[in-house]
């Protein structure tokens, strides 16, 4: 097992290097001269040259990359062009907002997804199963930005707005927990649908296994058979999906944060793209990618740990 973890850790190194090269090349993948674009069309050649100098764009790309990497390793992601503050500080301020949003969305997705999936599997081919699966299909196919806008329309500015649902403020993620509800629902719904479908499929497969018959042959009641014997096995593949969903939410938060004006990493990225603040874009994409790789690694290891018992059948 330790061997597996070490091997898996080593495997992430090329991935991280690849990600960093991609992120670094972002600036070159975009057509046109980055310095010119940052400065704007009307800028004087001196200003453009200054920016180029400031970003080190005159050096050969491999050298720039190495410098970039050595800075990253020291925790230096460069400075924001607009604010002049270190990118690392800008991100730090937003990082936990996004993680928190993703975390709540994951909890919501797990809670609703598991219940719906179990009910669907236990009552499969009945109308409750069919209803749940149709709703899940909607949840899965609804684009986040549309769903978010609809929620705002219905609950925040529409006439159906319940009294306790606070108006979204421009400052977004505030100190009022109720403000969390709509963004979390927006972000988590797709995940809930995926987890529901996964749980259902996994439960249905497990329920047909020989050891379930053994449990019944021992005289166990239906409840024990389903919630003790079947569920524990069925959850193993679901846990993987939950981990991946959490990783996906971190990236997917971009749209949700924009719609609900939440000051997270996603919003930071979008704003930076709009203002051509390249170091910030690079920094956020890099951090989200690294986080994603890290979450995947954890999922992989935990799956392996859980699956050890099952694998060697």
């Amino acid at each position: 097992m330790t061997k597996f973890i070490i091997r898996r850790l080593l495997q992430t190194i090329p991935v991280l290097i690849g990600v960093s090269i991609l992120v670094f090349s972002l600036m070159y993948l975009i057509p046109g001269d980055p310095a010119q674009m940052i400065a704007g069309e009307a800028a004087s050649p001196q200003t453009v040259e200054q920016i180029r100098e400031k970003l080190g764009l005159n050096e050969p790309p491999p050298k720039q990359y190495l410098k970039y990497m050595s800075n990253i390793i020291q925790g230096d992601l460069g400075n924001s062009i607009r604010s002049g503050r270190p990118v690392a500080d800008e991100i730090k301020a937003r990082f936990w907002v996004t993680v928190e949003l993703s975390f709540y969305a994951t909890i919501l997705a797990v809670f609703i997804g598991l219940i719906a999936g179990i009910v669907s599997a236990v009552k499969h081919y009945t109308w409750s199963d069919v209803t749940i699966m149709i709703v899940a299909l909607f949840g899965l196919s609804m684009p986040n930005f549309w769903f978010g806008l609809m929620l705002i329309q219905w609950f925040a500015i529409g006439s159906w707005m319940p009294d306790w649902m606070p108006q979204m403020r421009a400052s977004g993620w505030g100190d009022d927990w109720k403000q969390v509800i709509l963004p979390v629902v927006t972000l988590g719904t797709g995940g809930a649908a995926i987890i529901a479908r996964m749980t259902r499929a996994s439960m249905l497969e497990v329920v047909g296994q020989d050891y379930i018959r053994t449990a019944r042959a021992k005289g166990m009641g239906e409840r024990v058979v389903i919630y003790r014997h079947a569920l524990k096995n069925a959850l193993i593949p679901v846990i993987t999906v939950v981990g991946l969903e959490f990783g996906g939410f971190l990236g997917g938060a971009v749209l949700t944060e924009t719609i609900f004006a939440i000051n997270g990493m996603g919003r930071l990225t979008i704003d930076a793209i709009r203002t051509r603040d390249f170091p910030i874009v690079q920094g956020t994409v890099l951090i989200i990618s690294f986080l994603f790789v890290f979450v995947n690694l954890l999922v992989d290891i935990s799956y392996r740990l859980l699956n050890k018992r099952i694998d060697l059948n």
């Binding site: 042959a217 005289g219 166990m220």
Partner: protein, 350 residues
């Protein structure tokens, strides 16, 4: 009557599939006297497992018992409620399965899986149940049981897992054990050990056993009574001596003739020609008639009843009925015999 622990009468179990009703079990009758071993033999697909699962009402959700009686200690199990059946399962009647590799739950320890049953049926505490689990593991011949009790199934070999299954089955001192091909999936050397273990435990605890197998050799070694199954039906039921001395049904005779024996010399083994019928398109008349060397128009037209004689031996074959005209010649181990008149005086004379 007091001595019959289990009496199954004309059991019928069907599955409802997209392609229609599959009559997996369609006329099974047998008796298991207390403390004895009944063998159920038959080719794969003949309905042995479904018969066993019907007894405990453990059928898949598309399966249903559509007829017959299963009398256990004089009470028809088919009239029991779900709750009453749960009290029987794993308690008075336990079952072990063909596939030891997949029959244990991979996410629970051996100890948890044995204890579960004990806690439910004998109302022992977790701690007491664990002590009992270790005793049971020792009983089924698992070395260092106090270590094994904490292990997960993946840490055990197939033979060990089947021993654990037996320990689970024995946990509540059942009156009856159903063993569904308990050794088919195991290596030959392990097979003998497991069979020996079951036999030893049976004599020690006076259990009654249903031993399901496709192997007449296993039957010869372990059983007191035998039910031979073909295409969902019992075609012959008798005590072990009668079965091997005077097999009556042409199918049983066919099975015997394809079995090597060290006590009888024979030039060559004769496998039964043809194939087992598909349960979706059963032949009309006797189900064995398309493969039977003695079949007549009557056999192909009408299904024979299970005929009972005074010694409690049954056969489902027209040859032994009043309706049969003339005589039928059968070859048992290269020896020609005349089969005729079940119920009348002559049964298999030379």
């Amino acid at each position: 009557m007091e001595t019959d622990l289990l009496k199954v009468e004309d059991l019928r179990t069907s599955f409802y599939t997209d392609e229609g009703e599959v009559k997996a079990v369609d006329g099974v009758s047998f008796i298991l006297p207390k403390g004895k071993t009944l063998g159920i033999v038959g080719e794969s697909g003949s309905g042995k497992s479904i018969t066993a699962l019907s007894i405990l009402n453990l059928l898949a959700s598309n399966g249903k018992i559509v007829g017959g009686e299963i009398n256990f200690k004089g009470k028809n199990l088919l009239s029991f409620s779900d709750k009453e059946m749960r009290e029987i399962r794993g308690n008075a009647i336990s079952m072990i399965f063909q596939e030891p590799m997949t029959s244990l739950n991979p996410v629970f320890t051996v100890g948890q899986q044995i204890s579960e049953s004990i806690i439910k049926h004998q109302k022992l505490s977790k701690k007491e149940a664990n002590i009992r689990s270790i005793e049971l593991l020792k009983l089924v011949g698992i070395p260092s049981p106090d270590k094994r009790v904490k292990q997960y199934p993946y840490e055990l070999s197939g033979g060990m897992r089947q021993r654990v299954m037996i320990a689970i089955a024995l946990a509540c001192n059942p009156e009856m054990l159903i063993a569904d091909e308990p050794t088919t999936a195991l290596d030959v050397t392990i097979q003998a050990q497991i069979l020996g273990l079951i036999r030893g435990l049976q004599t020690r605890f006076g259990m009654s056993v249903i031993m399901i197998t496709h192997d007449l050799g296993v039957v010869a070694e372990t059983c007191d009574f035998v039910a031979v199954m073909y295409a969902g039906q019992v075609v012959e039921y008798s005590d072990i001596f009668t079965l091997f001395e005077e097999p009556k049904h042409p199918y049983t005779i066919g099975l015997m003739n394809s079995l090597p024996r060290h006590d009888v010399e024979i030039e060559k083994l004769e496998p039964i020609r043809g194939n087992v019928p598909n349960p979706k398109e059963m032949p009309t008349g006797c189900r064995f008639s398309p493969r039977c060397p003695a079949a007549t128009d009557l056999c192909r037209r009408e299904m024979p009843e299970l005929l009972k004689d005074d010694d409690g031996n049954d056969v489902r074959c027209w040859i032994y009925s009043e309706k049969w005209e003339g005589e039928a010649e059968v070859t048992v181990y290269g020896e020609k015999r005349i089969a005729k008149g079940h119920g009348s005086e002559t049964i298999l004379s030379d």
